[in-house]
């Protein structure tokens, strides 16, 4: 078996780990984390391009290292090689090892921000996109410079009000962290925003099963050549359509 993995770089360390331990070769292509911020259609188009670049007849399957990610995988079409994607809403579920564990934690802990090594070290350069378009993450000084004192202050209040909706920041620890740098950075971010800080053990077994080729129907969706992945907005996350 030979597999191709197209993955978001937010899972860089985790994917490198599971691929290093895979029983067969996995060729990996990471795409920028910034795709998360460009909107679902441009994101799906960029991933489709990567799928379409994959040479015919080389791989047993193309793995997608993504969750549905706000519909960023909706409509992806398998050309000559089947596509395999985990039935996850987003990468937090992938880091926690199951959709059920994420759902349970999500429901029991509304108002949680999640961080992982990838969320801390990847794609900061492309955050500029959401920065300008939505205006979040801009300092009061930046906003008043751009929009004047009165409007700048108003925008700052309007755009930071979301912080009050959140109560905690959770660092997902996979054991791949080389030192305490990531944990410290996440804790500092929580302190700055006035949120409680906690850590949660990650679980890479789901990703491991993906690269090992153990694709249970309950955990993975498979689109055969000519089929596409369609978001189903239920517990299955995806359905497959011609």
């Amino acid at each position: 078996m030979r597999l191709k993995l197209i993955s978001c770089e937010v899972l860089f360390r985790e994917m490198c780990d599971v691929c290093a331990h895979a029983p067969h070769p996995v060729d990996v292509e990471f795409l920028p984390k910034g795709l998360h911020d460009v909107g679902s259609r441009p994101m799906a188009a960029r991933i489709q391009e990567a799928v379409d670049r994959t040479p015919r007849g080389v791989y047993d399957a193309i793995l997608l290292g993504y969750g549905l990610c706000g519909n960023g995988l909706d409509g992806l079409t398998a050309r000559h090689t089947r596509l395999v994607a985990p039935r996850a809403h987003d990468c937090i579920a992938l880091l926690l090892g199951s959709r059920q564990r994420y759902q349970a934690f999500f429901e029991a802990n509304p108002g949680t921000y999640y961080r992982s090594t990838g969320w801390l070290e990847r794609g900061k350069d492309v955050q500029q996109l959401s920065h300008d378009a939505i205006g979040v993450d801009q300092s009061l000084a930046e906003l008043t410079r751009k929009y004047g004192e009165d409007n700048g202050r108003y925008l700052y209040d309007a755009l930071t009000r979301y912080c009050a909706n959140y109560s905690q920041l959770v660092f997902i620890e996979t054991g791949l962290e080389p030192d305490a740098k990531f944990l410290d950075e996440a804790a500092a971010e929580a302190a700055e925003k006035g949120w409680r800080f906690d850590r949660l053990p990650g679980d890479l077994e789901w990703l491991r099963r993906m690269v090992e080729g153990v694709w249970a129907e309950s955990e993975f969706v498979i689109a055969m050549p000519g089929q596409r992945l369609v978001a189903s907005y239920d517990t299955a996350v995806y359905e497959v359509k011609p």
Partner: protein, 211 residues
């Protein structure tokens, strides 16, 4: 009329002070409160929506225009009420249970207000029961549901189903929106309407209110 053109300009530029001044000037010149809304604020916000759609404007500009429009509305609203003018409709709006995102929802709420609606904003993480209570007690004909996560989108269906279970589904029109929400999903869950943008949400609410 020069004064009211200034009003439109102030709203489009997001200048709340200028919008309030232009509103006072227009009223002093004899423009009716109702035509301030329908002939000036609404077209100004339509223009803002158009600029947003062609990515000339982004969320900060939209928020500032909504703020300027509100400054004008605050002057006009008591006059409208005194003259017995009813709002176009009453909308209960909120982000569905489990979801805490509110920038888009707030924008839609502001735009609806500027579009002549009375808006009852329930905030974020709103349980179905609270939507139902607010819609019944405030006699609102419209309910607007927002979600930013695919993981919380099913709460839109839960909310719509709860209206049905309470025997109130026929009494309200329910519109849905939010980045991952699609027209097809809106149809699947039995919503009455979907809009891709905040400006479109106002047009949709007008259509639903008139239906």
């Amino acid at each position: 009329m020069a004064d009211t053109d200034e009003l439109q300009e102030a709203v489009i530029k997001g200048d709340a002070k200028a919008a309030a001044a232009a509103t006072q000037a227009a009223l002093a010149a004899g423009v009716t409160p109702l035509s301030i809304v329908t002939e000036h604020l609404v077209p100004a916000m339509d223009e803002v929506g158009r600029r947003f759609e062609c990515q000339d404007y982004f969320v900060p500009e939209m928020l500032l225009s909504a703020r300027a429009m509100k400054a004008s509305m605050e002057i006009v609203r008591p006059l409208l009420a005194a003259s017995g003018a009813e709002p176009i409709g009453r909308v209960v709006i909120g982000t569905v249970q489990g979801d805490l995102h509110d920038i888009g929802k707030n924008l839609v709420a502001s735009m609806l207000e500027g579009g002549g609606f009375e808006v009852i904003d329930l905030g974020v993480n709103v349980e179905p029961r609270r939507f139902i209570e607010a819609a019944s007690s405030r006699n609102a004909g419209l309910v607007a549901l927002s979600a930013l996560l695919t993981v919380t989108m099913p709460a839109m269906k839960t909310t719509i189903d709860a209206f049905a279970a309470a025997g109130l589904r026929e009494k309200v029109k329910i519109m849905v929106g939010g980045a991952p929400v699609t027209e097809q999903y809106a149809n699947t869950i039995g919503a009455d309407g979907y809009s891709e943008s905040a400006a479109g949400a106002v047009a949709l609410a007008r259509r639903l209110a008139a239906a």
